[in-house]
């Protein structure tokens, strides 16, 4: 695996946006050129245990669709009308963007929703690379869930790398590196919570997202560098309100909308942006059986996103997030046609309402055409809080 140096980071730091949104996946192609014989595996949101893929010496890559970088011309006919943009643009990348097809040696679609699940079948028909639909256990109470999930994880890697053996020591090492990655996120978010003016939202967003297609070691170096930069940041403190942004755990809003949230006067203290990359707030155990550690952590420590079954605590979850963030309001930022987000939103909004916490619901698509209505909604929300 690559050992990053500060000079390696210069191209990343200077071309952060370009690399973050690169649908040619040049960083992935570059990594493969540097690691002959090794593979890159694309994983659809929200969560796939990248540690397992990394332990084989391969590169796990989060994919987030084509965003504003690709026009939909074929995917509509494949998926139908009432389907979210990330699924359509990901399908469009498959159908009409050769650099995307060439970048990856396998795909994993976790069962976060029915569309993500079904994409595995569409991809499987159209490419020769292995495609795996990862059925993450939903029953957190059953004693049978951990053996099931351990086996499920192993079936995933056996499908992706049928002729290779897993080295448990390498898996422990991978867990350690990803624990460091998550600890760095946590530090940055803590800094942002304490001094949000030092950590610009768009820069933080791209700093996390660019890690999607980097070796975790290199990304750890980037996060350290960024943490240091943010700590020294002398941006002036604004008269902004502290908010939680939730609902955008899978499809990502256009960068303009992310910028808009801060421009209208919000400091985002807690959010779901690319939550799968920071799915755990606590480190995965580096002791004992590492596969079991991953399974156990998923079941008992994972982020409580709408893509998982968790009974009777929707209200408590959002109220706790608001409390921990010392937030004044919540922005529900949901992708058009995203059923899990739209279902959870009802119970969460009710809990907020009962506790007198304001919220606003903004719906987005990957390719918007002007955001004046969104600006208006956000400005009204902020003004109502500032002058309350």
């Amino acid at each position: 695996m690559t050992s990053a140096t500060s000079s390696d980071l210069i191209p990343l730091l200077t071309n952060l946006q370009e690399i973050t949104y690169d649908i040619d996946f040049e960083q992935v192609h570059k990594w493969k050129r540097e690691h002959p014989g090794k593979k890159a595996i694309a994983t659809f949101p929200v969560y796939v245990p990248h540690e397992l893929i990394y332990a084989y010496g391969h590169l796990p890559v989060n994919i987030y669709g084509g965003g504003e970088e690709i026009s939909i011309s074929h995917a509509d006919a494949i998926l139908g009308s009432f389907i979210c943009s990330i699924s359509k643009s990901t399908t469009e990348l498959l159908l009409s963007h050769q650099p995307f097809r060439d970048a990856f040696d396998g795909f994993v679609f976790p069962f976060i929703c029915d569309v993500a699940r079904n994409l595995s079948g569409i991809f499987g028909r159209r490419i020769s690379q292995p495609v795996y639909m990862l059925h993450l256990a939903q029953n957190v109470q059953s004693e049978h869930s951990i053996p099931y999930l351990k086996n499920e994880f192993m079936r995933m890697v056996s499908t992706l790398f049928p002729d290779e053996q897993l080295d448990l020591e390498k898996l422990r090492d991978a867990i350690s590196k990803y624990n460091e990655n998550r600890a760095l996120y946590k530090k940055i978010y803590e800094l942002r919570s304490e001094t949000p003016w030092k950590v610009p939202l768009d820069d933080l967003y791209m700093t996390i997202r660019v890690g999607s297609n980097l070796d975790v070691v290199k990304h750890n170096e980037l996060l350290k560098s960024k943490l240091s930069e943010y700590e020294k940041n002398e941006r002036p403190k604004k008269d902004a309100i502290r908010v939680v942004v939730t609902g955008n755990f899978c499809e990502q809003p256009p960068l303009d909308i992310i910028r808009l949230i801060e421009q209208v006067g919000c400091y985002v203290i807690d959010d779901d942006f690319m939550i799968g990359r920071r799915f755990y707030q606590t480190p995965v155990s580096e002791e004992g059986d590492p596969i079991e550690a991953l399974a156990r952590h998923y079941l008992h420590e994972g982020a409580k996103t709408a893509t998982r079954f968790h009974e009777g605590e929707k209200g408590e979850v959002i109220l706790e997030r608001v409390k921990n963030a010392n937030a004044e309001g919540v922005i529900f930022l949901t992708a058009k046609f995203c059923e899990p987000a739209l279902d959870d939103l009802v119970l969460q909004q009710q809990a907020l309402q009962e506790n007198g916490i304001p919220s606003v619901h903004i719906e987005f698509e990957e390719r918007g055409s002007g955001y004046e209505n969104i600006r208006l909604s956000l400005e009204t929300f902020v003004e109502s809080l500032l002058f309350d």
């Binding site: 998926l79 029915d114 699940r117 079904n118 639909m133 939903q138 053996p147 739209l342 279902d343 909004q349």
Partner: protein, 416 residues
């Protein structure tokens, strides 16, 4: 039976008998008194047999919702659910159920829908199932048990998947025994399973009947009526007897060469959930072209009843319940779904595939366009794709769909 032709009434002993009994079963179901604890289950791959054996009255809000839609009563409940925050893009079943049962007290002109005492989330084939039951558990403050069914990804169910399901089934039974002070009786379960098996054998036979030319049954539009006993009443004597009667009626139709249209001209396979708000109109669009559905996927949303090995088996109670649960249609991988469609097209001597995609159910619908591409370009059959919704009449654009259907059959006729 809508189109009985060239046969004297007195020759027909069973004409319309199955439809009459089905109507009666629906009426009786919604008018029954609540004498036992009520459990809500989902249709896909459910363990109804276990719950019946434990002494529950079993309800499926999906069935209530579609019954409201076919009676043109769903929109008022959908709007009610939207008024408390459920978005336009949320599943119409969810909104109809919440609007009807939670927000309107469950009163219908068929009878009162009781609130549940227990929710069992048989998570087979639909991610919305979990969201729906999470909400109901909050609304009704009743226990919710998750029964996680792994998605079908392998040709045979993997040992580990079956063990996972069986383990959860046993845990579920223990939990329910404690929660409701009930005692599980294996002999009772075997009796219930025997009724299920008998109903499934009969239902499976009715599918086979459509191989006759002309087909004695419309395997989509007509079979949808006959889904009620297998899904709502599976495991009861009434359901088992119903399919005996259906088969007697179908045998009689075959004997007299009766089909659902006067002169069968086109044999179609239909994939997808029906547009219940426009059900009659949609059916008429096909009748007018003398088109009969000879096989369909929707009647298998509960389970793949056409595959004998996947039916319930009193000799293997746990294993057969687990195996059945994996093979609900929406829990099937696209590989399996494509193979199923291919088998139907070939075995039932079909001329074309018709796909109806719906806004609400992405589980069924996402990828149907890819299926169309597969059927046209790899199998060489014509295929039509139309869209609306199964619950929400605001998505039913009759004129547009009629134009598409007419153009499709016109082209098919021209090619002959």
């Amino acid at each position: 039976m809508e189109n009985i032709v060239a046969v004297k009434e007195e020759d027909l002993q069973y004409a319309g008998a199955a439809r009459k009994m089905q109507r009666q079963l629906v009426r009786d179901f919604y008018r029954q008194d609540v004498t036992k604890p009520v459990v809500y289950l989902f249709v896909g791959g459910n363990p109804a047999e276990l719950l019946r054996a434990l002494g529950f009255q079993v309800y499926m809000p999906e069935i209530t919702a579609l019954t409201m839609a076919i009676r043109h009563q769903s929109l008022q409940y959908i709007l009610k659910a939207e008024s408390i925050g459920y978005g336009l893009d949320v599943c119409g079943y969810v909104k109809t159920d919440i609007g009807l049962t939670h927000l309107s007290g469950g009163e219908t002109d068929m009878g009162k829908i009781p609130r549940p005492d227990l929710l069992v989330c048989n998570y087979s084939g639909c991610s919305v199932y979990a969201k729906w039951w999470e909400a109901l558990a909050e609304f009704y403050k009743v226990p919710l048990i998750m029964l996680d069914i792994p998605y079908h990804r392998f040709n045979d169910p993997q040992k580990e998947d079956l063990e996972y399901i069986i383990g959860q089934l046993r845990e579920m039974v223990e939990k329910i025994e404690k929660l409701f002070d009930l005692t599980f009786d294996m002999n009772r379960l075997k009796d219930v399973l025997a009724y299920s098996r008998k109903a499934e054998d009969g239902w499976g036979r009715s599918f086979e009947m459509a191989k006759h030319v002309p087909s004695p049954i419309d395997a989509y539009f007509e079979s949808i009526f006959y889904m009620f006993p297998i899904n709502a009443l599976r495991g009861t004597k009434e359901a088992a007897e119903f399919y005996d009667l259906l088969n007697r009626e179908l045998d009689e139709r075959v004997k007299h060469g009766i089909g659902p249209v006067e002169n069968e001209e086109f044999r179609t396979v239909i994939e997808g959930v029906p547009p219940y708000p426009g059900y009659r109109s949609f059916w008429n669009m096909f009748k007018k072209w003398n088109a009969v559905s000879v096989a369909a996927t929707y009647p298998k949303v509960g389970g793949m009843f056409d595959i004998p090995e996947l039916r319930h088996d009193p000799a293997k109670p746990w294993e057969s319940i687990a195996r059945y649960s994996i093979f609900s249609y929406c829990n099937l991988s696209w590989d399996f779904r494509r193979e199923t469609i291919k088998r139907y097209l070939e075995d039932f001597k079909a001329d074309a595939l018709v796909i109806h995609g719906i806004k609400s159910c992405r589980s069924f619908t996402a990828g149907q366009g890819d299926l169309r591409d597969y059927v046209i370009n790899e199998l060489g059959y014509p295929a039509l794709y139309v869209e609306s919704d199964h619950q929400d009449p605001r998505y039913w654009a009759e004129a547009q769909i009629l134009n598409r259907v007419d153009a499709f059959f016109e082209a098919l006729r021209m090619k002959r």
